[in-house]
Subunit: 273 residues, 2 copies
């Protein structure tokens, strides 16, 4: 194939988007397209500029012997705002209220487009924190954790409530649920987390923060490092066990009788991580 | 912003890739870029041609009043082969063998790049089947189901082993595990699946197929329609309960003593769905 610039731009854009946080040597493109290094550099400038202007992400070019390029996601405040707005509309639907004031959330955590948007936002927030691993607890945090990990180009590690034979040897801890005060346990396969890993904890929902606290205890067992905590929804709660976290949405009030759910934006836009 | 063609191509490629299986009216691009419809049509031809030649996917242009374009993923046989090859190398690592001949798989199902590739392959295989929902069972199938659903642009529905208060009213079934003959149960929230939905079942591992069979029973309870079954790994098993399925990898033999795992490609390349 004889590559035109226009075709190279389409193909390179696809390749970069599919390989976030990966250093791609310029020679990769030079070889693939049979083009001069100067042409590839110009292509990259065009993509860089467009990614920047449209809030798609940041292309960083690396100097050195061969030179390279790395794409990182970067979501603009106005786009975060707009995603939060969409999410609030979804969450406020009154038929979501279950007996006891619980919220049915399976449609939201099962929506790949929404989770992809939120994952992009979280990845963008923690992009400079050298995250090695995204950790979550089964079941409901998995889709968001995966979406976030995909943009950070790191593995996702799934903590379970129960031990399974297909996990091999495991580390188990007990923790106290912050709101119900019940003792629960959490299990993680010994192999799944290396000592010294920098871990971003991602979950769908946080009330008192007992579950997140449990995950922090697990990190200590593995001698891994907590690099951040991010949740989709934080519920209003007085005695929170966790101080430092990022939230996308804040759930202020659920009125079961009046069938009303009140949400607002979380701290993501005002919080430095 | 005054858009040049090169910039439009980069931005459109990003938009299309982020919106698989969604009809985008040409007017969307005309308005966004302040360009003539004829220019946008030319842009689309370039992207279409490149997507096609590079096996990125298929752009279908729709005629009619306003006209539109829809991007669908389409993975070429040689790229499927190469993904299978990579996966086989991952799976064959002998330190994966656990006592009892089980395989540790958390690193594979937790690897977003691998799951994204496999999800793309599965979506590509079922792209013309009008799938409404991807269904899986907690916990280990979730990342692959999500990755597949993302490319099909449909929700993912997660069946659980136990009922949770945050699911609302649920439907529960009992099923017999095909290999251990134990009776187990499965639960799905009443709200999560509409009658008549066409469902693609995705799971990480299939031995006898008892779990998949359980999900099929659930579909019957919901009067939903089975549109396909796809698994990452099928283990060699004589009395399989399921006949029609797609598999990426076939696990032929695990030798615990010799620390040897034998895998080959599944039926994905020889099977019409």
């Amino acid at each position: 194939m004889n590559w035109k610039r226009s075709e190279r731009l389409v193909d390179m854009t696809n390749y970069l988007l599919n390989n976030p946080r990966k250093i791609i040597p310029l020679t990769y493109f030079v070889d693939k397209y049979g083009a001069a290094k100067s042409s590839i550099s110009e292509d990259i400038s065009i993509i860089k500029e467009t990614f920047n202007q449209q809030g798609i992400g940041i292309l960083k070019t690396l100097a050195g012997a061969s030179g390279g390029v790395i794409y990182s996601v970067n979501v603009r405040s106005e786009d975060i705002q707009s995603s939060i707005h969409t999410l609030c509309e979804w969450i406020e639907k009154p038929d979501r209220i279950l007996p006891g004031g619980y919220l049915y959330m399976a449609d939201i955590i099962g929506n790949p487009h929404l989770m992809d948007e939120v994952g992009k936002i979280l990845a963008s927030k923690y992009i400079d924190k050298d995250i090695d691993v995204v950790m979550t607890v089964a079941t409901k945090g998995i889709t968001l954790a995966y979406a976030t990990a995909r943009y950070l180009n790191v593995p996702v590690v799934i903590v379970r409530r129960d031990s399974k034979i297909t996990e091999g040897s495991t580390v188990s801890i007990n923790y106290v649920s912050g709101s119900t005060k019940k003792i629960q346990s959490m299990v993680l396969a010994r192999k799944s987390l290396k000592e010294g890993s920098k871990v971003l904890i991602v979950d769908d929902f946080m009330k008192a923060g007992g579950t997140v606290n449990g995950m922090i205890s697990l990190l200590e067992e593995f001698r891994a490092e907590l690099a951040g905590i991010a949740v989709l929804i934080e519920a209003d709660y007085n005695e929170r066990l966790i101080n430092e976290y990022t939230s996308i949405i804040k759930l202020t009030h659920v009125d079961e009788k009046e069938k009303k759910i009140v949400v607002s934006e979380g701290n993501i836009l005002c919080k430095e991580v």
